[in-house]
Symmetry: C2
Subunit: 356 residues, 2 copies
C-alpha cells in the first residue's frame, strides 16, 4: 500500500490507542497485549508475592495499580488494562471464590434457579469498590498518551464458571442448565448483565477510556445458543453503556466464535472485535471490511514464547494484511507465563518500526 | 425443495450410508453418532466391566466387536464405527499408555526429538493386530445393509497427547515444540502419518467400508500451523489410501477448524467433512456447496442429553437446511455418558420420519 493512503493524523492525537475508534487507520497500529500485566514479568511476580494471593492482589488498589502500570513502564504499550479478574463479579455477588495455586479458580457451584438466592446483587457495588479505586489510581499515574482499558467477563463466560464451580473444557453443566431451564438460567444471565453494566459504568466514571468484554467460552455454543447467551447479553450491555457513556468504545472478544464473528459484530454493536489465534489473518482483514468496527488481534501467544524469525515473519504478515485498516495489534489470547520478556520487547519494536 | 428433486435411488442400494459418497443425496439422510458405542448404554457398561479396563476392551476383539454392534442392534444406525481409541497408535508405537478412571489417558511424554528413539514403528503392526481382528469380527456379524467405519486420530491430535502426556486445554507443549523445532516435531508427525496409513489400510482389508480421521484439536492452530500440521498430514494419508483403496471414502473431522473447513476439504481431498457443534447449520449447508464433499453433522450432544421439543426442533432445522444435499446426520462431537438412551431412539425416529 503506498504511503500516501495511510492515515497518520492519529500520531498527533493525545491517545493513539483511541484513534481507530474515531475512524482513523493509524499506522503503525496501536499495540497492547491481553494479560500484559502478568506472571511473565519478574516485577509482577514480586508484587504478587507481596499481596499474598492472586485474589488479594485483585482487591488491593495500590498493588493492582502497580502491576497494571508495570508493562507500560517496560514496553510503552498504547493501552494499559486494569489488573483484575473476570471472577471478581461472582465474588462480589456473594459466590464464595478462591484461587488454588496451580489449579485455578474454585467457586461454590450454582446449579439451578433455587441457588440464585445465594447471590446478593445489592452488595456488588461495595465489594467491587476496591477495583474502582484501582482504576482511579491507574488513571492518576498513567502517562497522558496511554489509554486505560476497563473490562469484565461476558455473562455467558462468567456463568460457565459459576455453574461448573471451576474451569472446564466443555462448559457442559452451564450448557445443560441453559437447555433444560432457559428461563432459570436466563435469570442468572440477567443478574450478570445488570451487574456488568454498573461495574463497567463505574470503571468509565473512574477513568477508563475503553472497555473490553471477554467471552472466552463463546465458541462452545451452537448458533441458536450463541444468539441467546452471547449476542443478546452483549448487545444489552453495549446499549446500556452507550446510553450512559456514548463516547466510550467497547471491544468484544468472543473467543472461538469463528465464522459467527461478523454476525456478533453486526448484532451486538461493539466498536471493536478481538480476533482469536485460530482466525486466519487474511480473514481478519477481509471478514470485517463491511462492518463499522475496529479489528484487534491476533498473534499466537505461543509464537511469542518461541520468538526468533518465525515470530518476526508472522508479525510482518499480520501487519501487511492489516495495513490501511482500523487495527489494534494484540495477541489472539492472553500472554502465557513462560513468555521471555525480551520477546515482548522485540515484538513491540517490530510493530512500531513499520510506520517509521 | 420439491419431492421430485430428491434422489431416492440410494434406498435401493445395499448400504444407504455409502450412497452420498457415490453422489446421491439420499433422503432421509443416513445417521450414525460419534461415540455411539459408549457409556450411555447399559449393555456397554456391562461389557466394559467384563473387560476389566478401557484399554483391555480396546484390545479384546470379541468384546470390542460386541460393543461396536450394541448400538446397531438397539437403534439400527446406518453405520457402525469400530470401537477403539485414537491412542492405541502411540501405545502400539511403544509409548506407555494407561487410562486413569475419571481422569483420562496418561502417557510417558515425548518432548523432544531425542525421545523419538523410544518409539518403535516396526512393532505397531503386531500390537494393532487385535484391533484388526475386531474389524474382521464386526464385519462378519454386521447386517449387510450396515456400513462399517474404521478410524484413526489425525497425526496432529495424536501428537498433542503424546507430547503433553495427557489431555490439555491448549495443547501448548506440542505447539511450542512445533514452533521451536519444526523439523524434529515433523519427524514425530511423519511416524504417525506412516503408521496411520498402514493401520487404516489394514482396517479396510479387514472389512471397513469408510474411514474417519478425528482431528479433535485442529482448532487450536493458527492458519500457518494448521496448513503444516493438519492439512498436509491429512492430505498425505488421504493420497496414500487412495492409491491402495481407491473406492473407500475418507471423512475428515477437523474439530474447531471453523472458517478453515472449506480450505481443509479442498486441500486434503477428503470425501466427507464432519462439522462440529459450533458450525451454524446454515453454514454447514452453504459453505461446502462448491466442494465435491459429503457433509456430516452436527447436532449438539448436550441437546441430545436435554431432549424434548428443543431437540425435535433443532433436528428439524438441520434436516430442512440440509435437504437435497449429500448429507449424513451425526452429532457435532461425541455422545456423552449422561445421554438418556431413549433420547437417541427419539432422534433416530425423527430423522427417519422425514423421508417417509
Amino acid at each position: 500500500m503506498p504511503a500516501d493512503t495511510r492515515n497518520t493524523k492519529a500520531a498527533t492525537t493525545e491517545k493513539r490507542f483511541l484513534a481507530p475508534f474515531r475512524g482513523e487507520a493509524t499506522w503503525p497500529p496501536p499495540i497492547w497485549l491481553m494479560r500484559q500485566a502478568g506472571r511473565y514479568l519478574p516485577e509482577y511476580r514480586a508484587t504478587r508475592a507481596k499481596a499474598g494471593s492472586f485474589l488479594k492482589l485483585c482487591y488491593n488498589p495500590e498493588l493492582a495499580a502497580e502491576v497494571t502500570l508495570q508493562p507500560i513502564r517496560r514496553y510503552g504499550f498504547d493501552a494499559a488494562i486494569l489488573f483484575s479478574d473476570i471472577l471478581v463479579v461472582p465474588d462480589a455477588l456473594g459466590q464464595k471464590l478462591e484461587f488454588l495455586e496451580g489449579e485455578g479458580p474454585r467457586l461454590e457451584p450454582i446449579r439451578e434457579v433455587a441457588d440464585l438466592t445465594r447471590l446478593d446483587p445489592g452488595m456488588a457495588e461495595a465489594k467491587l469498590a476496591p477495583v474502582i479505586e484501582t482504576v482511579t489510581r491507574i488513571r492518576q499515574d498513567l502517562p497522558k498518551e496511554t489509554a486505560l482499558i476497563g473490562f469484565c467477563g461476558a455473562p455467558w463466560t462468567v456463568a460457565t464458571y459459576m455453574v461448573e464451580g471451576q474451569g472446564s473444557s466443555d462448559q457442559a453443566k452451564a450448557r445443560l442448565w441453559a437447555y433444560r431451564d432457559e428461563e432459570g438460567f436466563g435469570q442468572l444471565i440477567d443478574i450478570l448483565i445488570d451487574t456488568s453494566i454498573d461495574y463497567l459504568s463505574r470503571q468509565v466514571e473512574a477513568g477508563a477510556d475503553c472497555l473490553q468484554i471477554f467471552d472466552t467460552w463463546a465458541g462452545s455454543l451452537p448458533d441458536d445458543e450463541f444468539e441467546r447467551w452471547v449476542i443478546d447479553p452483549t448487545r444489552r450491555i453495549r446499549e446500556a453503556l452507550r446510553a450512559r457513556h456514548p463516547n466510550i468504545p467497547v471491544i468484544g472478544f468472543p473467543r472461538g466464535a469463528g465464522p459467527s464473528g461478523t454476525w456478533y459484530v453486526a448484532e451486538t454493536g461493539v466498536d471493536g472485535i478481538g480476533c482469536d489465534t485460530a482466525t486466519p489473518p487474511f480473514m481478519m482483514s477481509e471478514a470485517y471490511e463491511d462492518e463499522d468496527v475496529v479489528v484487534q488481534g491476533n498473534l499466537d501467544p505461543l509464537l511469542l514464547v518461541a520468538g526468533g524469525e518465525r515470530l518476526d515473519d508472522r508479525v510482518d504478515e499480520i501487519l501487511e494484511l492489516m495495513e490501511g485498516q482500523r487495527f489494534i495489534f494484540n495477541l489472539g489470547h492472553g500472554i502465557v507465563p513462560e513468555t521471555p520478556p525480551e520477546n515482548v520487547a522485540r515484538l513491540v519494536e517490530r510493530v512500531r518500526k513499520v510506520g517509521a
